[in-house]
């Protein structure tokens, strides 16, 4: 006997992550924690930007940082050296953090935390599909990645509240136009705030803090 069985209400993997992310968002709000997910390619400058952010904000907020990486505690150690609580999440071969990992990690952060940064795994593809329940999402692109990074990864830029264009000081030698990158971002999402930085020298950090409404 042939039979058609409807499965449309079965749980989908991506929907399950979104539901978990919504729960995390509620939990963080109840605990009075403002949260920011920092995404971007490998070597775009996420860790350097976080070092500068915590250095500027550590006297104003009680900060915790979750650093996601395939392996090593290099990033967590770098950020932790600035005197803020950091927790490494090693994902092995997984290319992004997901809401499930974060739901466990937030159990470990100190009770008095009021600002949480999450450094996502270096990747411009997968993190876009896996929201973590943060208030804001930041994506970092650097000029050393070439002129087409934004157009090649529209979804992650479309999902970001703030986009950082990093390594401005190298734009001329890379022959990459900051203006073109900015136009590409606004072509995908006119609401995304663009901040141009040379994070290593701290240039643009105050603008970024302003864009994050911190």
């Amino acid at each position: 006997m042939h039979k058609i069985v409807d499965l449309k209400d079965e749980e989908s993997l991506l929907a399950h992550n979104r539901e978990l992310a919504e729960k995390i968002h509620e939990q963080l709000a109840e605990r009075g924690i403002c949260s920011i997910d920092v995404m971007g390619a490998i070597g775009s400058g996420k860790t350097t930007i976080l070092e500068k952010l915590v250095e500027h904000l550590k006297n104003q907020y009680r900060i915790a940082v979750l650093a996601g990486d395939l392996t090593t505690t290099i990033d967590a150690d770098r950020i932790g050296a600035h005197g803020v609580q950091t927790f490494q999440i090693n994902t092995g071969k997984e290319c992004h953090l997901d809401a499930h990992l974060i739901s466990h990690a937030i159990e470990d952060i100190p009770a008095d935390t009021n600002l949480l940064f999450i450094e996502n795994v270096g990747n411009l593809v997968c993190p876009a599909d896996f929201p973590l329940g943060t208030d804001k999402r930041v994506v970092v692109v650097s000029v050393t990645e070439g002129p087409h990074m934004v157009k090649k990864h529209p979804y992650i830029f479309g999902q970001a509240h703030v986009a950082v264009i990093n390594k401005k000081d190298l734009a001329d030698s890379m022959e990459v136009s900051i203006e073109d990158l900015t136009n590409d971002i606004h072509g995908i999402n006119p609401e995304t705030r663009v901040v141009v930085m040379t994070a290593r020298d701290g240039e643009g950090i105050e603008e970024l803090i302003g864009a994050l409404e911190l």
Binding site: H2, K3, V5, D6, E10, D129, Y155, G187, N189
Partner: protein, 133 residues
């Protein structure tokens, strides 16, 4: 991307349903792939077929449909498809996360970011195995 993880979710849902319904064979499965998942249908189908090997779904025909993105604008209330830009430099259409009507807005995605099994066609007793003869 996560074609393999998504395929695992699909295979799990199909095989669980087949068991619950006491199916002896899964003849067909219909998958819906959201436009905004950017999943490659060919890869998803390849992995699903791999995961079906050695199961009652081994011979299943795997069909798929792309579900276009639908959005709602938080500012002007527009509800409908997402804008896409054609750029000859790229093979894929670029989604634009701005409201097609008011060109602003924080868009809420209503459809197009999931990958699900719509339905499956099963056989609940083997062909020709009728006990009344």
């Amino acid at each position: 991307m996560h074609e393999m993880s998504v395929a695992q979710g699909i295979a799990r849902a199909v095989l669980r349903t087949a068991k619950r319904e006491e199916a002896v064979k899964v003849a067909r499965i219909n998958i819906e792939i959201g436009q905004l998942t950017f999943l490659n249908p060919e890869q998803v189908i390849f992995w699903v077929a791999e995961l079906f090997k050695g199961t009652e779904a081994e011979a299943a025909e795997i069909s798929h449909k792309i579900v276009p993105a639908r959005v709602r604008c938080g500012k002007c209330g527009y509800e409908g498809p997402l804008q896409v830009k054609e750029d000859p430099l790229f093979h894929q259409a670029l989604p634009v996360f701005a409201c097609p009507k008011c060109e602003k807005g924080s868009l809420e995605i209503l459809e197009g970011r999931d990958c699900i099994v719509r339905d499956i066609e099963i056989e609940t007793s083997p062909d020709g195995d009728c006990s009344c003869h």
